[in-house]
């Protein structure tokens, strides 16, 4: 197995607030990694650094051996824009609140990015987009607009939109947190089916049962550092660190 994503010694601060401190992790091809931890622990910031929405202050960010950023004398030095654009094609990101384009139909939301960014032919993209929507159970919604869909349906469109770019790795930032509890299941099912197809994924989630079932590796973050990590049954069922035990207990009480 080869390393798809490697983050070494990532540092990030907002003003004087250090949000990520010397954080390292790696994801192998076909692996599902879950990131858990209390709110404010830097999970989103980590995903945003990995997806180039934020720049790290220090550290390496490497996709399949391609350096997006390289630590040079303690500072993260980013690759030139053309290289970063190439690397952007390797990952997709699913947001907590979907961020679909409201003025586009479902089909156009899925079709425009590959056509515009990857310059692919409309006929070919259409076929793929329709297959993806079918797979998401949205075949009959191709012509609908996002406002006409439930949150769960919108999130499935946003997953289809990300997949249409054929990413090597997909990031999810709390993909079910904006949904009513009864809609959470349909998204988790979709992610589960992607895992079965060996899609490489990094998932920030508060759904512990799901994380335990679907992931190969779990990382517990607190205060910008990884406190504990391991295979999901160890970390979630038998946590050893005081903070992890506290966090999981509090989550159970809810």
């Amino acid at each position: 197995m080869s390393k798809l994503l490697e983050i070494n010694h990532c540092r990030k601060q907002f003003g004087s607030n250090e949000v990520l401190t010397d954080l390292s992790l790696s994801v192998e091809e076909g692996q599902v990694l879950s990131i858990i931890g209390p709110s404010g622990s830097g999970k989103s910031t980590l995903l945003r650094c990995a997806t180039l929405l934020e720049t790290m202050d220090g550290g390496d960010l490497i996709y399949l051996g391609n350096y997006a950023a390289r630590d040079t004398d303690g500072k993260a030095v980013y690759a030139p824009p053309a290289e970063l654009q190439k690397i952007r094609g390797m990952f997709g990101l699913v947001f907590q609140n979907f961020n679909l384009f409201p003025h586009y139909s479902v089909l156009k939301n899925v079709m425009e990015p590959p056509m515009l960014v990857q310059k692919r032919k409309a006929s070919e993209v259409r076929e793929e987009a329709e297959a993806l929507l079918e797979q998401m159970g949205l075949a009959d919604k191709a012509d609908a607009y996002p406002y006409q869909l439930s949150g769960g349906q919108q999130q499935r469109v946003s997953i289809a939109r990300a997949l249409a770019m054929n990413p090597k790795i997909l990031f999810f930032d709390e993909p079910t947190s904006a949904l009513d509890p009864e809609l959470t299941g349909e998204i988790l099912r979709v992610i589960r089916s992607l895992a079965e197809k060996k899609m490489t994924m990094v998932i920030v989630t508060h759904e512990m049962m799901f994380a335990r079932d679907v992931s190969d590796w779990v990382v517990f973050m607190n205060g910008g550092v990884i406190i504990e990590q391991g295979n999901p049954r160890e970390v979630i069922d038998h946590p050893t660190h005081e903070r992890t035990i506290q966090f999981l207990r509090r989550l159970q009480e809810k």
């Binding site: 997806t51 180039l52 929405l53 654009q85 952007r88 094609g89 990952f91 997709g92 990101l93 947001f95 609140n97 961020n99 679909l100 384009f101 409201p102 003025h103 425009e112 990015p113 515009l116 960014v117 990857q118 607009y145 996002p146 406002y147 939109r161 990300a162 770019m165």
Partner: protein, 215 residues
């Protein structure tokens, strides 16, 4: 002079009224967008200069701006004032309306959530692609009501051209009113503006409806 003659004479100025109106929109709508982008520039100097531009043009009467653009070159550089006033009139109107439109665009652009930019960025859209395809269409939909307000005001503001004696409909009406000592030309002008704005309202309403396919 009969009412019919007054109407005919004033109608001859309607072409010029329309010229001010359409040319001003043609120039001020895109110019306003550029001004709003400069106003939001990360470069402090650029954004400050633009802010001053906007506050001066919105803070002084359009009438003074018309006089300044039309006669300013003569007083400053001794350039003779041309008989054809359309060019200075359209320049003054366009600069003025661009300032108002700029603030409307800015409000619209700032109302679009960060998530739209981020989604486009992660998908690999360039900044231009993101702006023209994702942001601007949504901005246009949101600002139509405010733009309609400005356009309706512009219809009425074309009458300001009388300050530089540009022979548009209202200027002619005012001259007739003076020579005939009659109030009728003002009534006729009022009717003209009202009809003009009814058409504007209809067209903008259609436009708004066409963009109501999404929320």
């Amino acid at each position: 002079m009969t009412v019919m003659t007054m109407i005919t004479k004033m109608s001859e100025g309607l072409g010029r009224t329309c010229a001010i109106f359409f040319l001003t929109l043609l120039f001020s709508l895109p110019l306003g967008l550029i001004v709003s982008l400069l106003r939001m520039s990360k470069n402090r100097i650029v954004s400050s200069i633009t802010r001053v531009y906007i506050s001066v043009l919105r803070g002084t009467p359009l009438m003074l701006q018309l006089l300044a653009v039309t006669y300013g070159p003569y007083y400053l550089f001794g350039v003779s004032v041309s008989r054809e006033k359309l060019i200075p009139v359209v320049i003054a109107f366009s600069l003025n309306y661009a300032a108002y439109f700029a603030e409307i665009y800015r409000g619209g652009i700032e109302s679009i959530g960060r998530g739209q930019y981020e989604a486009a960025e992660v998908l690999g859209y360039s900044r231009t692609q993101c702006f023209t395809r994702i942001i601007l269409p949504q901005v246009i939909k949101r600002i139509i009501p405010s733009v309609t307000n400005e356009v309706v005001t512009l219809v009425k503001d074309t009458s300001m051209a009388f300050t530089v004696a540009y022979q548009e409909m209202f200027t002619i009406g005012k001259q007739i009113a003076n020579s005939q000592t009659s109030f009728l030309p003002f009534v006729i002008a009022g009717v003209f503006y009202f009809i003009f704005n009814a058409i504007v309202g209809f067209i903008m309403g259609r436009f708004e409806k066409r963009l109501s396919y999404y929320r």
